[in-house]
Symmetry: C2
Amino acid sequence: MSATLQDVAKLAGVSSITVSRVINSPEKVADKTREKVLDAINHVGYIPNSIAGSLATKSTRIIGVLVPTITNSIFADTITGMSDVLTPNGYKLLLGASGYSLETEASLIDAMLAQRAAGIVTTGLQHAPAARTRLATTDTPVVETWNIDGQPVDCSVGFSNYRACYEMVETLFRAGYRRIGFVSAPITANDRAAQRLQGYRSAMNDLGLRTGRSLEREASFSFRAGASSLGDLLSEESDVEAIFFANDILAIGALFECQRRGVRVPEDLGIAGFDDVELASQVIPALTTVRIPRYHIGRVAANTLLQRIQGEAVNPPINDLGFQVIQRQSTFTKPD
Amino acid sequence: MSATLQDVAKLAGVSSITVSRVINSPEKVADKTREKVLDAINHVGYIPNSIAGSLATKSTRIIGVLVPTITNSIFADTITGMSDVLTPNGYKLLLGASGYSLETEASLIDAMLAQRAAGIVTTGLQHAPAARTRLATTDTPVVETWNIDGQPVDCSVGFSNYRACYEMVETLFRAGYRRIGFVSAPITANDRAAQRLQGYRSAMNDLGLRTGRSLEREASFSFRAGASSLGDLLSEESDVEAIFFANDILAIGALFECQRRGVRVPEDLGIAGFDDVELASQVIPALTTVRIPRYHIGRVAANTLLQRIQGEAVNPPINDLGFQVIQRQSTFTKPD
DNA sequence: CTGAAAGCGCTTACAG
DNA sequence: CTGAAAGCGCTTACAG
């Protein structure tokens, strides 16, 4: 169907390798020849077949990117960061959504390796055992993101979900809160969520505060789920003083529910979130939360991958980009 | 580096074509042979090279997906819809973000054609002339989404942005609003935004309402931009009765700004949005908006592409999935 | 049910 | 500066 290098070569009266040079290293070709070839390329509307090119060079410019879901703007920010670095370098993103299933992730990893991706980016450090083995065995560079608490297969870029939650609880404690509830994201196939929950529990214990099942809830990723988990928690623990939600969407859903119920925030109840999405600073009252360098994680992950693809070592293999607790109007504040 | 079909074949004591059969059509191979080969595959950790496979079959299972930006949950929903249909069919998504640049889009299209994508999905009908020619000339199936007002290169799946805005203005008119402002998204390289603006203008004219520059603003995609465009508009048109925003994010940003300024919604000012994101129904007052089948657009686009890849004709080539004006508390309502 | 030959469309190395 | 030969790792079509 579409024209090949051969067709162009014939038309231009040169060999196919010369056409290849015009495309890949034009400076090595005489001006006159180059012009002849470029004319022929335009004339037949030649589009190089990068499949054939990849087979010959044994390399691709494709990066496999694995996220749990695309319908969550926090991962979208990270993907944008990667795209902004990789696209100008001629790389394309092969996107896979695991749907928080380790099995799906494993089969996507195999598909990306089959595609001979130049590199792979995962979300989190948790993988199916077979998938982890695959990643460890292949010589394809792998960067794991959004988590640094654990041993990466190759290298990792992110922050400590555990520490971030721990520090938020400390911040709430300093502001005077004692009875603090926590609404977690589902922790299945989500090491980040599991570690956030652990961070909350550890901090509560270390501060000598009461913990227990009745102060904890799990909610899927939606405003509605945040609203109903608030209702749940309040009905069982009516004297809870603050609720810390594992993400801003849940927290903001709860904020709206408070408004509907006439619960004053922060006077009657403190609300804290996690992520610092744009909405968090715009909602009224503005949300106390943890700021995560989502976009930056994407950029750094991409640059790390580029380094590894060039065969450079990455030191240190674990890259902590940090986080920042942001206190706003949804909780009381104690300046210290 | 990694094992090839040959390596597996040697180990299993068969020819490479037999290994190929075990992978692609196992039922054609004798049970004993298949087992021997599968053992060999597991033993060397063989991962098929789909680059080589694609070159031989002259086909790939890659779909090129072009969106303006990933950091907008509305496109994320559409991508998820596509992924949900394509992944189970063995297709992978090659994602390209044009950043609302027709030039970038054009070069991404070339890259996807070079990758010999099995199909291409674009957002909108507007492309650089050269890109449109490429799309029209190639025999790669192309589905254009989010817009049906115009001639598709191949086929389109979406709704009429023009009609949707037209009907929202009619709805506001019926509810008693006369002085209606409009805040548009930037219309550069965005035919959907341009047609939304046109829909507003046409409806205003047809209803005999005053229009003009002072009733219109343009704002980038953020809550903050929505808030400041509200301020802008109110300062120049203090007696505006309702403002229609080209997307929910802008509208909700404006809603918060009203709360800060003590402008009561809908008593002092009506606010309407576009998209019906989850937040629109949760925010207080809940937002009047236009519901778009974002996820469904993705699914239908994917199925259309699958049809076209199988060589079937798509009839009709323009698939109108419709929209729905949803009246909520942010505007007055007149039941009719 | 299994295999030997040819080919997909490029690039790598080697000549000249 | 330009080219002929070989090869990348698969699959297609043809035999047997």
